[in-house]
Symmetry: C2
Subunit: 483 residues, 2 copies
């Protein structure tokens, strides 16, 4: 029962329960390997254990925290387990968690510069730092026409890029008059599903997204891009946007930015580059080649919430021409007018994305960068790539397994040589074991397993154990009859 | 310097620094009234104090935390101050902050049911609880064709509602083929700016948003709505969507849902109802009249992150027909396929909003509801309304001030009788004092001040002090020459 007659938690209670939650989290990281990585519960099982009605009276905090263990934990898939190799990671770290705590405690809403100047200015500053840290093109720095903003996800960033491209291509008329079904955009079949989703959302239509052919490395073929743009112009359509990917979700394929960028410049198309996970690799000089040609892009995003120890949500989205983005998304009702905005001397980030309100997310990013330093972040990125490369070597050396795609960084796509059905059964069996969690994709029409090394606590032993489990389980699955 | 050779914060360090941040937050709430509510810094002042380059080596956590006080706090506008009466509130509470901490610590990404079943099932469960708690129409419960989801903001919720409306009106063809500029939507000039923004984003065009006339209470006039729909049909256009507001941002006007809903039913238009702040009032039976007619709506949202002690972001978005929403936003690439999704037995919330990834936001909402109980939440809502009504009474009784609009709940719009310029100067002077923070709007073309009571710690004395400051400052401003 809350002790205060006001029902609020008093500062002393907050201190006591806050320590308890901090301890809970610290303990969690110490025992995270004891849980099955993929939650084994059946659909409906978690809900069935929850009381059907909300409580009329408040309950003691200790009881709530105990219910986290009792009711919630069985239904958790452990993204922070060192044995989580699925999807792209969503890693986090102590300084990030504490930055999120501080942000929640301050409870500021940074929609306008005026509604908390530090929320806006720290964000601009840290995003400029990241331009330097990743050696991104200077055009994305905020001291010129460009600039960066934190979005919730690469999906939202891609949508905003597409919207700005749509407006630039139509003289800012689509926003006012609506779309006319003639705008077309281009990406590869390996691009993230959010690009097709954004086409639907933005009113261009998913059917107006052209899938450009890929080469044997799953990368976009610039010659096919040029061909399709020409064909669309011939047909009276209006090409406006290309989304290239550095590190596709399926297989980490790297689209050739210099050639794609040249075509976009020649043709006047907006080039967006999605580096959601792999962009972080550019912290290390030896991996910066992935961004060759990025100086030709109009926008770019990467997600510190994937591979830079900053908890979800934190996508860094950069544009070379912030005026285009702001003109696309700005609307200024009377109740948001203020002197700072009207002076033109400040950034109001509400005009840089879909939602109006925003949390102080720069705080956790600042905490992470300061805690690790550039050196600490580089250390972990190098280590993850090294572990993934070691795994790729084991696959290459195996008789039973083969690589399903090049593995330039920390993602390895591989398959058992026994065919799709066997690989499907192998994956199910591995994930049901609770020892590790992998996901799959299809490449060239064939099933492939994906192992992505990116969790903060993943060490060599975890990758070695994963490979041992994969081999042992494959030996079992090979004995089963085909299904 | 991080003590661990891995650069990571060890569990022991996390415990130590975690306690320090918990203490910092507890102390903050004890000293929050000592800060000027509106940050007094000038544009660029916060950035100028930050080091131009990111650190190469990691830094001690104590130094980072000390810099929060030194570099960040001067640039904070204190949304959690009991003297914050601006905009709509974004209040929070101890249990919410600790729920956010736990969510950050778990670090799960709930895009699919399978990626953490508890993240999805607790969300569905708590959103069903809220249907009961607010006595919302049963059609929004998840056990029928409807259901609820947490979005980041009402802006995003409105966009999703508009998208589903767009698709329903075009037989799910706009998503595929793009918009054709013929769809029109309706709202009042008092609706939130996010509706116009959504029209641009969704490709319908801001110019195709009709502003329906309002009555003397600033509420939408159903007769004008019917008239405009008929005129648009006459002109060969396709009316598809109405956004009504219960509690407009400017003045808390309540659009008449029963009449608007009847028109939408007759005409086959999607009715979205935006209850961003005021929806929370329906926790109390005596305020539930604001939702009369909501059973005619296709979608509804309200924000626990405004007035229900749950820190931003937490908007609850409900639809009566989840199939329409999912069909609009779903896309299923191979790398997200899984047995649970294909069984059809689970909800994958990624198909209910724009972003793919999502945090475990239901946790903080669950913590808040369990900590306060329905009773505790009702207590505070009643108290806030009572304090605002007391303030409205003082305004009514004053010779110098008048109400600028009806004040049904916790927002009071008022003005000095001395004209727009005087009111503008009065507001600036009040906000520069640091004692309180108010914002303004225009109603019927005249400037009005807004005082919204919704911060967790606001008590009678704060509202009384605010009124005293307003009167004293007005007396000073009255003496100044016109500018």
């Amino acid at each position: 029962m809350p002790e205060s007659p006001s029902f609020h938690m008093t500062p002393d209670e907050f201190r006591r329960y806050g320590y308890a939650v901090v301890d809970w989290v610290a303990d969690y990281y110490q025992r995270v390997e004891t849980f099955p990585v993929l939650s084994p519960v059946q659909p409906g099982e978690i809900r069935a254990a929850l009381p059907p009605d909300p409580p009329q009276q408040g309950e003691p905090f200790d009881a709530i925290l105990a219910d986290v263990d009792r009711l919630i934990m069985p239904g958790i898939t452990h993204w922070q387990s060192p044995n989580f190799f699925a999807y792209f990671p969503a890693n986090t770290s102590g300084p990030s968690i504490l930055g999120e705590l501080l942000s929640a405690g301050l409870g500021v809403q940074g929609m306008l510069w005026a509604t908390s100047p530090a929320c806006t200015e720290l964000e601009t500053h840290v995003l400029d730092w990241l331009v330097d840290m990743l050696a991104l093109p200077a055009r994305f720095r905020s001291d010129g026409p460009g600039g960066g903003v934190i979005q919730d996800s690469a999906s939202s960033a891609s949508l905003c890029a597409l919207l700005a491209a749509r407006e630039r291509a139509t003289g800012y008329q689509s926003n006012e008059r609506g779309c006319d079904g003639r705008l077309v955009a281009y990406t590869s079949p390996q691009a993230h599903s959010s690009i097709a989703k954004a086409m639907g959302v933005a009113g261009l239509g998913r059917g107006n997204l052209r899938l450009v052919e890929t080469d044997e490395t799953q990368a976009m073929r610039p010659d096919d891009l040029a061909r399709q743009i020409a064909a669309d112009r011939q047909a009276g359509l209006v090409p406006c946007f290309v989304s290239a990917t550095v590190g596709t979700t399926s297989s980490n394929a790297l689209d050739p930015l210099p050639e794609i960028g040249r075509i976009c410049r020649q043709e006047g198309l907006w080039l967006h580059v999605d580096g959601a996970m792999s962009g972080t690799a550019a912290l290390c000089p030896e991996f910066r080649y992935i961004h060759d040609g990025l100086e030709l892009a109009d926008s770019y995003c990467f997600n510190p919430h994937k591979w830079m120890f900053t908890n979800f949500d934190c996508d860094c989205f950069y544009v070379a021409d912030k005026a285009a983005l702001i003109r696309t998304l700005s609307i200024l009702p009377e109740y948001l007018r203020n002197q700072a905005t009207e002076s033109g001397a400040v950034i109001d980030y509400r005009d840089w994305h879909i939602p109006l309100g925003r949390r102080f997310r720069a705080l956790k990013l600042w905490f992470v960068i300061r805690h690790y330093g550039v050196e600490g972040l580089q250390h972990h990125v190098r280590r993850h790539v090294e572990l993934a490369q070691r795994f790729a070597d084991w696959v290459r050396a195996s008789d039973r397994f083969e690589l399903a795609a090049p593995a330039p960084l920390n993602l390895v796509c591989f398959r058992h040589v026994g065919g799709d059905d066997l690989n499907r059964r192998l994956l199910d069996r591995l994930n049901q074991s609770g020892h590790l969690y992998l996901t799959h994709t299809t490449l060239d029409g064939r099933y492939a397993l994906r192992l992505c090394v990116g969790q903060a606590q993943t060490e060599e032993r975890h990758v070695a154990q994963a490979w041992a489990h994969i081999q042992e389980t494959a030996a079992l699955v090979e004995q089963e009859p085909d299904q």
